[in-house]
Subunit: 347 residues, 2 copies
DNA sequence: GTGAAAGCGCTAACAG
DNA sequence: CTGTTAGCGCTTTCAC
């Protein structure tokens, strides 16, 4: 860039954001005192604190948590990684977890990892680069690189959604195979002899539906089809899968037991079946997964598996906070989230 | 704490996270060179870069972005605040915006503000305390305190979802009243004479439905009921509202024009109406809002208003990046997100 | 209860 | 292309 002779060095910025020294000067105290008023008010005399607060308000001071974090080595932030929050369980977990952490003075930095599209290791690197005080992460299957990065961060980690035999640290999840087995038993108890599944192709969904299918088969039932759709699940995918499945069902009398890995798929299946005059539960017994509002509020309301996401979030926050505040014994750090089959009109 | 004579000062920590000087030492270069390899690789000779990369891998170095951010005064992070991402438009905006920002090297810190439960000013304070490089925020109605905080942060701000006459900075939204008017015209063109609305009680939803009602009335139509439900919208709320509305509808022949502020409400209304034998569009013309998958994939697929959330996210990211990288002229910073009525089987 | 000094881990700015 | 110096704004630690 050519010099223009008038010698303009960078123009002074509009007015740098207010910092702690500005507040200290205005209040006539040391910066450290301002810091105490903000972080440990009980160690400051009420009179001083009042003066300082006035100065803070007058200047509109917003403490720089970046600087504070660097100095204290605590970012007061926890990172959360989930594939999506379209799923009610994730949504509940994240919401509850965030609220609980916020109350304790921590902010949650939420990242959506999607289903496979994103480079999870790169995501983790930038996340951990911000030095979160803890990490909440969905899914217990990590690449070796990811596993190592997480371990070396030396922070409390809670894995949710899945149970694993080798948790990195703490764990709040449930056994997806157990879900599949329970749903199978539920159908078997009703005397079903034929079954089918519609599943998203993500590992957990497949665990549920495959274990279901296996259990049914072992009990002597006949599989009429196991459709797989690309994650994430959608209503449309459920409709398509059902349309593919339907021909195989023609001419049967006893209702088919259909287990879908998501309520969206189940709803789609019901819509499509309904179009061809197949009613549930007369011709078709359907069980979804997730207890989306749709399962309770659509017509007919359909049977599904409910997982207590809110409880999971609460427990996860408790685990993290106990570790962070160091009170009490180091928690065992394993929690099986309860799930249950909510029976409605389609079974 | 009593001294025990053996003089143990704080035990050395397990092994402090690797830092830039460790990498520099191992690679036999200055810390600054390591920094360059990471941030501006093209200013380092390939040979040196290779050495440094080896050291980085060997040590599993994860750069401390907190420290980097403090030093460079750029956090490489942007904050996003939306009430919920249950709504497809928000979900799309956030997803697209995040992806676009990530590609440019920025991480998005997502916060869900809910509908009123949370102290938005407190949320903003902690968010801005982390010195995001930019802010994406839904809704153009802010408290004076919030407005001031945002302004004084001196960062690019994009307000989405709403148009406002006094944007803080940049704006990507649409006119909710215009939506209401357009939907009214749509129904009027079909010859409807009676209408009703079901709306969530958040300001934007009310703008849409009230403007709709007003336009209908001005055209000589008769209002048969304007139900309001608490935000956020749910299917169940739609069902209840419809149940309340139904008695007023008895005995009429020409189909009622029903506009719902959300597809969830519209779906609930359709379910409830269907239960009483009312079919759409024969007895009831329904238009929702949001173009949720549900509107296209349920039966009957229903008419709705689609807002191009993905486009909004893309535009917003473009605005922010242009400001951040300083290339090109300061963008005008206003964008009307297109919306359109997607006509399906219920009208 | 308050203050002064030192430094968190990194990068801007300026040499060489 | 690479290194040196001097902070970023706060909190830790230790004095008073």
């Amino acid at each position: 860039m050519p010099s223009d002779g008038s010698g303009p060095k960078p123009i002074e910025r509009p007015r740098m954001p207010v910092k702690i020294t500005d507040v200290a000067t205005l209040a006539g105290v040391a910066p450290m005192t301002v810091s105490r008023v903000i972080n440990t008010p009980d160690r400051v005399s009420p009179a001083t604190a009042a003066k300082v607060r006035v100065a803070i308000d007058r200047l509109g001071y917003v403490p720089n948590l970046i600087a504070g974090g660097l100095s204290s080595r605590r970012s007061r932030m926890v990172a959360a990684v989930v594939p999506t929050i379209a799923h009610p369980m994730f949504a509940d977990v994240v919401q509850t977890f965030s609220d609980a952490m916020r109350v304790a003075g921590y902010e949650v930095m939420l990242s959506l990892s999607g289903y496979g599209a994103i480079d999870k290791e790169a995501l983790l690197r930038t996340l951990l680069g911000r030095r979160p005080d803890a990490l909440l992460i969905a899914g217990a299957a990590h690449t070796p690189g990811a596993f190592q990065m997480i371990s070396e961060a030396h922070i409390p980690v809670v894995e949710i959604w899945d149970v694993s035999n080798h948790p990195i640290d703490m764990l709040v999840g449930f056994d997806h195979e157990e879900v599949g087995r329970d749903v199978a038993r539920f159908f078997l108890a009703k005397g079903h002899k034929r079954f089918a599944t519609i599943s998203a192709d993500d590992p957990r969904a497949l665990q549920r539906t495959r274990t279901f299918a296996e259990t049914m088969r072992r009990a002597g039932c006949i599989g009429m089809g196991e459709a797989t759709v690309k994650a994430p699940s959608t209503i449309t995918a459920g409709r398509r899968a059902m349309a593919d499945l339907l021909p195989a069902l023609a001419g049967d009398t006893a209702p088919l037991a259909l287990f879908c890995s998501s309520d969206l798929l189940a709803f789609g299946a019901l819509v499509e079946a309904g179009l061809l005059g197949l009613r549930s539960p007369e011709h078709l017994s359907v069980c979804g997964f997730g207890n989306f509002e749709l399962s309770a509020a659509s017509e007919p309301a359909f049977t599904t598996v409910s997982v207590e996401g809110a409880e999971a979030g609460q427990i996860a926050a408790g685990f993290v906070l106990q570790r962070l505040t160091g009170n009490g014994p180091r928690p065992e750090g394993r929690w099986h989230v309860p799930f249950r089959i909510v029976e409605r009109r389609t079974t």
